[in-house]
């Protein structure tokens, strides 16, 4: 039976996380449908229909769906759920906000952060900040899963030619209202999609010093990340936090600067292909996962690194 994916988008473009979710879905069944819920989101629909492997795009385009409030989206998904045995969304803050509601309304379990599809009823997911890997089997009639994007390659964004179906039902809760949004604007690649990331921790000392990392990031085309301590201290905004309770990343190259390597930080980056750590404490736990460790004062090493790239 077909798999339904709830698309990740901002009404303007389809987010890459959707492409990784498509790959997970195709490992379950060849018939993959994508639901685009939004407002004036025609470009997203175009993009979704072109993704390789997607056979059908369901579109719910209404002002009530502009901010994809969980109350509304979950009920809409439940209305179309009878055609599906699997309902997936990327494990982003949007997916995590909505899918548990869908599962509860359907009286089934929700499996979070799936990193591997073993079979149509058996999935692998990390628990305990990634210090244990659980394989779970479910006999629920509908399997509701959020997909950790680092577990699956991105599907090709072109090559598909999906048919479209318009959903006309409008579900609008009068008990949840969007007030405002402060979105970080950056010319850098998105953290979860970047192939190189340079992250700063408490060792950076203050927000101003993150400029040092920007110099390196400019040369490498890298995204900038941070530890919780750097976010808590107000050096950088919350959307840069990498870790158990922040973003999960797995770039080709992850450079940790002034980060000690707490379990919770490692949980978000230890699947990176190559890890570099720059820390003045030679016993910092980050060195246990680093392929290349440099014991040095970051204020000397980072400017030198920028110059030599």
């Amino acid at each position: 039976m077909s798999v339904l994916i709830i698309a990740e988008h901002d009404n303007k473009s389809l987010k890459p996380a959707t492409l990784n979710t498509v790959t997970a879905a195709t490992q379950i069944d060849a018939d993959v449908h994508v639901l685009v819920v939004g407002f004036e989101c025609q470009t997203v629909v175009e993009q979704a229909s072109q993704v390789a492997g997607v056979t059908k795009v369901l579109v719910a385009d209404n002002a009530a769906y502009e901010h994809q409030l969980a109350e509304n989206v979950s009920k809409l998904v439940v209305e179309v759920s009878s055609d599906y045995e699997h309902i997936l969304a990327p494990a982003t803050t949007t997916g995590k906000n909505t899918l548990p509601r869908v599962a509860a309304l359907l009286n089934v379990a929700q499996l979070s952060d799936v990193i591997k599809v073993e079979a149509a009823d058996t999935f692998v997911r990390p628990i305990y900040a990634g210090n244990a890997i659980a394989t779970v089997k479910t006999t629920d009639a509908v399997k509701v899963l959020t997909i950790r994007t680092t577990g699956f390659d991105a599907a090709a964004s072109t090559g598909g030619n999906a048919e479209r179906q318009v959903l006309s039902q409008v579900i609008a809760s009068d008990r949840s209202r969007f007030l405002k949004e402060q979105l970080a604007e950056s010319d850098r690649p998105e953290l979860t999609a970047a192939s190189v990331i340079i992250s700063g921790g408490r060792g950076m000392g203050n927000g101003e010093n993150f400029k040092l990392l920007e110099g390196v990031a400019d040369k490498l085309g890298a995204a900038i990340g941070a530890s919780r301590a750097a976010v808590d201290a107000g050096f950088v905004p919350n959307d840069l936090q990498v870790g158990q309770t922040g973003k999960t990343v797995a770039p080709d190259l992850y450079i940790a600067v002034g980060i000690s390597g707490a379990i919770q930080h490692l949980a978000g980056m230890k699947d990176s292909k190559v890890i570099v750590a720059i820390n003045k404490d030679e016993d910092a736990p980050i060195f246990q996962v680093a392929d290349y460790g440099l014991v040095a004062d970051l204020f000397d090493a980072v400017p030198e690194l920028e110059k030599s790239l």
């Binding site: 803050t93 548990p100 509601r101 929700q110 890997i133 290349y292 790239l309």
Partner: protein, 250 residues
């Protein structure tokens, strides 16, 4: 206004867990257990609302074996007024926990349910959303700021792109993120006082909720280990390795 806060007893966040050698579960014998950090933040937020005069009563609930009474006592030492333990085996699935908490919220006529965004053992990040769905309440997850006014909660949420602010009508469910507040420590006199605060024990049958799950664990294994790396002596050596050995920099 009455606030219900859920608290879960989990492995302490400083402990690095080990998987049992038979690969059935993680080994929890003789491991330090604590209140889930996100639940501490939930308790703190509720107490602050009470101290501001916004809330009149803070009730805490935990679902699990008798040992979670310890966690409930901690929450009362921090300032919660009374506690409810829903007596079940430990490790119940999220949907069952959500059904039990939803029923307690209903019976208590709680105006606001504050829960952690995530339990650091299961890493599920779903129970609060499920409680909200079961009660058909609005939700504001991953909260970093909460203000209550005119029967509404204005909540700033930490989302992937930055921050979002919603207004939700009470009764509602809020789940906490790390930067909502910094939890206080319990003072010794308050720990003593908490021993005398009321703690009710209920069973799922008392609440008329059937628990059970269609999900079973096939195996729990340790994660793949990274091969140990090397220390480089200089920035020049680092750049050389990245270019010529790892080939991740051109």
């Amino acid at each position: 206004m009455k606030i219900l806060v859920s608290v879960k007893r989990v492995i302490d966040y400083n402990v690095k867990v080990r998987v049992k050698s038979d690969h059935t579960a993680v080994d929890l014998t003789n491991v330090k257990m604590s209140m889930n950090p996100f639940c501490e933040i939930a308790v703190e937020e509720a107490i602050r609302l009470k101290e501001k005069g916004v809330a009149s009563e803070v009730v805490v609930v935990s679902v699990g074996s008798k040992s979670c009474q310890e966690t409930l006592r901690t929450a009362m030492a921090l300032g919660a007024d009374r506690a409810i333990q829903v007596e079940t085996e430990d490790g119940l699935d999220s949907l069952s926990v959500a059904k039990l908490i939803a029923k307690v919220a209903q019976d208590e006529a709680a105006d606001l349910v504050i829960m952690g965004k995530q339990a650091i053992d299961s890493d599920n990040n779903q129970t609060g959303q499920m409680v909200a769905a079961l009660l058909d309440y609005p939700q504001a997850t991953f909260a970093s700021e909460v203000a209550i006014e005119n029967g509404e909660a204005q909540v700033t949420r930490e989302i992937d792109g930055g921050l979002q602010t919603l207004a939700i009508t009470l009764p509602a469910v809020v789940t906490t993120d790390l930067r909502l507040n910094e939890p206080r420590f319990a003072s010794l006199p308050n720990i003593m006082k908490a021993k005398k605060k009321p703690l009710d024990v209920k069973t799922p049958a008392d609440l008329g909720v059937e628990v059970g799950s269609n999900v079973s664990i096939v195996s729990v294994t340790p994660p793949p280990q990274r091969a140990g790396g090397i220390k480089v002596g200089s920035v020049a050596e680092l750049v050389d390795k990245l270019k010529n050995e790892a080939k991740v920099v051109s």
